[in-house]
């Protein structure tokens, strides 16, 4: 059977028997999504590439022992990648936002519209980078990777309710950061209500 038609679980079983074609198929199938999630967590390319490579190396080394145990293979893959990213973040501290901004610096003159678009994107990415790690992880998995709350809970090894709480708090923090006028208005309204 061609590797393109095999399920992830079948490919993992074959990779566990040393089948490099099966391992290649898994890499080709999942690298983009795992990288996208890792990049959102780490906010710099080199670290995200290392995280993805480490994730697939762990797969290659343990494929023979991998058992579904009720979870999808992709869930397992995300869990490994996210844990690798969290380890990197804890070792690195919070230097990533500045690195990400400097990576995008471009001295070439650009049209106003493109500049505005770049600034807005940078603002979003800065706001995401400023979130606490677990809130950023929840938003990365559910909003950007479009995983279900159950899958995200499985990956993060927490309850669905905890995922929802992280999502709500993360989105509130993003809203306050990206729509500061609204945040000020709300703060003013709360202050007025307290003094009424």
């Amino acid at each position: 059977m061609a590797v393109g038609e095999d399920s992830d679980e079948a490919l993992v079983a074959r990779a566990g028997r040393g089948d490099r074609a099966a391992a290649s198929a898994l890499v080709l199938r999942h690298t983009d999504r795992i990288f996208a999630a890792s990049y959102r967590m780490l906010r710099e390319r080199a670290g995200a590439e290392d995280a993805v490579q480490e994730t697939f190396l762990r797969l290659w080394k343990t494929a023979a022992r991998w058992k579904p145990q009720g979870a999808k293979f992709e869930t397992w893959l995300y869990r490994v990648a996210m844990n690798v990213c969290l380890d990197k973040l804890r070792k690195r501290g919070r230097e990533a936002p500045e690195e990400a901004a400097s990576e995008r610096a471009d001295s070439a003159p650009r049209a106003d519209e493109q500049l505005i678009s770049e600034e807005r994107r940078a603002a979003v990415e800065m706001a995401l980078a400023d979130l606490p790690e677990r809130q950023r992880q929840a938003i990365t998995l559910c909003h950007y990777q479009e995983l279900t709350n159950i899958e995200a809970a499985d990956i993060m090894e927490i309850s669905v309710e905890a995922v929802e709480s992280l999502l709500a708090r993360g989105r509130r923090a993003l809203r306050d950061a990206l729509f500061p006028q609204r945040a000020e208005l709300m703060e003013g309204a709360r202050h007025d209500a307290a003094n009424a």
Partner: protein, 165 residues
């Protein structure tokens, strides 16, 4: 069925229940955003119930504004070079180690021989080797058991490869 008036206990309870469900719907907006497709399956009925309610729609517009803003940050592409780099980093797995899965060498019982030492051997070669030792190879599991128990000479450098597991 008893008609409920605005001041009757039944309608008051119904109003409270509705307010609670609306609050729950708004919490879902806060967590999942304005797009119904992103809501959990078991909460979509709540979305449908309050769609059109002005209190829900106000919160939904705010959530939609954030969704649109978050969409300004596209996914970063991985690139072909990363995939090639990952595949190049996969070391060959020894065929018999692949058969063994999680088994590890036991002291005094012999060692696994990494793929490098057995390069060029075919499955037939394995079977021939097993047969020369007086063992009938009936299947992959039997072959795995044979190699787990056999004593093979192994260099210290190859030992180091297995110590990394």
């Amino acid at each position: 069925m008893t008609q409920q008036t605005p001041n009757s206990p039944g309608s008051e309870q119904g109003s409270l229940d509705r307010d609670k469900r609306l609050a729950r719907a708004r919490l879902h907006l806060e967590a999942y955003g304005a797009d119904r497709a992103r809501w959990p399956e078991d909460a979509k009925a709540l979305f449908d119930k309050f769609a059109g309610d002005y209190r829900f729609e106000i919160a939904r517009e705010e959530a939609a504004a954030l969704d649109e803003t978050l969409a300004l940050s596209p996914a970063e592409p991985a690139g072909d070079a990363l995939q090639a780099r990952i595949l190049a980093s996969f070391e060959p797995i020894a065929p018999h180690a692949a058969l063994f899965g999680g088994l590890r060498p036991r002291k005094g019982f012999g060692r696994f021989v990494p793929a490098g030492a057995l390069a060029g051997l075919t499955a037939l070669g394995f079977a021939a080797g097993a047969a020369s030792a007086g063992v009938t190879v009936a299947g992959a599991e039997d072959e795995a058991l044979y190699y787990a128990e056999a004593t093979l000479a192994v260099s210290s450098e190859e030992d180091a490869l297995w110590a990394q597991e």
